[in-house]
Amino acid sequence: MADNVLELRDVTVSFPTDRGLLRPVDGISFAVAPGRTTAVVGESGCGKSVTALAIMGLLPGGGRIGGSIRLAGREVSTLTPEEWRGKRGGEMAMVFQEPMTSLNPAFTAGEQVAEALRIHQKLDPKAAFDRAVEMLARVRIPDAARRARQYPHQLSGGMRQRVMIAMALACKPRLLIADEPTTALDVTVQAQILALIDELKRETGTAVVLITHDLGVVADHADDVVVMYAGRVAERAPAEQLFATPQHPYTIGLLGAAPKLEGGAARLASIEGTVPDLMHPPPGCRFAARCPFAVAKCREEAPPLGEVLPGHHVACWREPLDTLLENAA
């Protein structure tokens, strides 16, 4: 797969802190092909957002990247801040959870979309603004010409997120990273925004990395899934396969913990305990302390990510769990 838009190989992110070195991302690998959506899913502190920031070169103070991040075959983890700035908004773009904090309140929606076009596509201000209005119409902002002259505070949450998407896609990036793009929005608006990202992806062939905590969103919108837990990849598979035959205990527990729209289970599967302190991660599998299948080896030695079915990787010493079912039967 030489044509991957994005390839992460054994990526670590570390931050120096008063208490020592914190490593919120600890050796993760995955790749994203053009026109496909890879969901990175996990709960708070699993490292999914830090991964996104690392790819974009936006790590906050002192964050260091190890391993390799390749964008269209070119290593980006060693870029200077200037070089990285040249890629953002052009080759790669990002949509954040909270559009109000990522839009500049002092500029109109149209000016903000036009800015990227002026910088990366060297359009003159008039052409850039006209193209910005086109982009706003394309993300289905009604009455785009008028809205382009409005400021962020005059727009609804859903509309602001559409402006963000227009900004992100204005320069036809190869890679779009969407970090919880709809978490702050109401469910009916969320559905519109996710459908819009899908549609634009199909039209432009942009590769999408969708960072989310919502397995329902993953099921509807992802082609491939990376399940992260405490800074590591627990499981990685094509989406359909992941939902049909999840292999990692964490994935299995997570699927059972989400309440179902059709009701059913009287009691939710409950993953007891909390995530480990990443300042002092346990030596073995990071999920071992919460895992009902854990044995001594799980607590002592970290399991490698192995391919158990074509394209389906899992980091678990107890895999395949199905033998446990046979033994129980």
Binding site: A219, L254, L261
Partner: protein, 350 residues
């Protein structure tokens, strides 16, 4: 027949809206003529999107704010007729759990102080027994009593929500309103707290009003559900029935928008646009501006909450085709269920 635990009759509450210079811009009728009845020991969910008035309704139910008109009856008694002293005494019967466990606990109080405060306020146990009662309450919510001397910042979100629940239980309430009580929690921790709430509701015979935007959570724990849109209830009935046979176009759209039902549902099921401003709501049916079935009558008349199996406020409900069947992914099937059974829930807390 005994009176329901809580009854609302045509309750209205408006808030004045001012512009940046403090000039009046009119009023938002946050709750506009809501009638509801919550039987003892049942769970009623109020669902809707931001700005629909669900949180205002919860606060009205507990009389934390006053209605402009209408009646709120607690066990058949109009709380508006009570003297301040009598209302204070009534307060021990009703409690509120907030969404944000980080904001709802005073950072200067230890867990013990936070849980003991309502005990003291309502004179529930003698001082000498206070510590024992706090320990009992903490273990009731799955926390080790040894944690009582710690401070809120030492706990995770899920643990804080358990502390907030212990504090709410301290006065021995019969009615609890939970305003998005699990929305700020990660899924795995959310499941722990949902299981805890369900146990408490059943074992203590609590009446619970759940305010939520999460339809999965609502389906899981509520007996009845009321769907709100721009200050009004558009549909209300037994949860299983409303979810399997939604009558109001808004309820249908809300259910169709929940992710996890496959991409095949297509763009047709999606609502266009955002909800209109509550300052200047549409005439007649407030949903008509986004409704694919709206006709002239919908702009002219407010639809009544009419009972066709369950209550729905739609002029056209009798003519609409039945709601399309939803299918939820059940890809994992039996294997997944058997594996998930290993995640037995020991209620040991975190």
């Amino acid at each position: 027949m005994t009176a329901p635990m809580l009854e609302l009759r045509d309750v209205v509450r408006a808030f004045p809206v001012r512009d940046a210079l403090g000039r009046s811009k009119g009023a938002v009728r946050a709750v506009d003529g809501v009638s509801l009845s919550v039987p003892r020991g049942s769970v009623l969910a109020i669902v809707g999107e931001s700005g629909c008035g669900k949180s205002t309704l919860g606060r009205l139910a507990l009389r934390l704010i006053e209605p402009d008109s209408g009646q709120i009856l607690f066990e058949g008694e109009d709380l508006r007729s009570l003297s301040p002293a009598a209302l204070r005494a009534r307060r021990r019967d009703m409690q509120l759990i907030f969404q944000d466990p980080f904001a709802s606990l005073d950072p200067r109080m230890t867990v013990e102080q936070a849980v003991a405060e309502p005990l003291r306020l309502h004179g529930i146990v003698p001082r000498a027994k206070e510590r024992d009662r706090v320990a009992e309450l903490l273990s009731r919510v799955g926390l080790r009593p040894e944690l009582a001397r710690r401070w809120p910042h030492e706990f995770s979100g899920g643990q804080r929500q358990r502390i907030a629940i212990a504090r709410a239980l301290a006065s021995g309430p019969r009615l609890i309103v939970g305003d998005e009580p699990v929305s700020a929690l990660d899924v795995s921790v959310q499941a722990q707290v949902i299981n805890l709430l369900q146990d408490l509701i059943r074992e203590l015979g609590l009446t619970f009003v759940l305010i939520s935007h999460d339809l999965g959570v609502v389906r899981h724990i509520a007996d009845r559900v009321a769907v709100m849109y721009l200050g009004r209830i558009v549909e209300e009935g037994p949860t299983a029935e409303v979810f399997s046979n939604p009558k109001h176009p808004y309820t249908r759209a809300l259910l169709a928008a929940v992710p996890g039902q496959g991409h095949t549902k297509g763009a047709a099921a999606l609502l266009e646009g955002d909800a209109p401003s509550p300052i200047d709501p549409p005439s007649g049916c407030r949903f008509r501006t986004r409704c694919p079935h709206a006709e002239a009558i919908c702009a002219a008349q407010i639809p009544p909450l009419a009972d066709h199996g369950h209550r729905a406020a739609c002029h056209r409900q009798a003519e609409l085709p039945p709601a399309a069947a939803r299918h939820e992914r059940d890809a994992g099937g039996e294997r997944l269920k058997r594996l998930q059974a290993f995640f037995s829930d020991q209620r040991t807390g975190e």
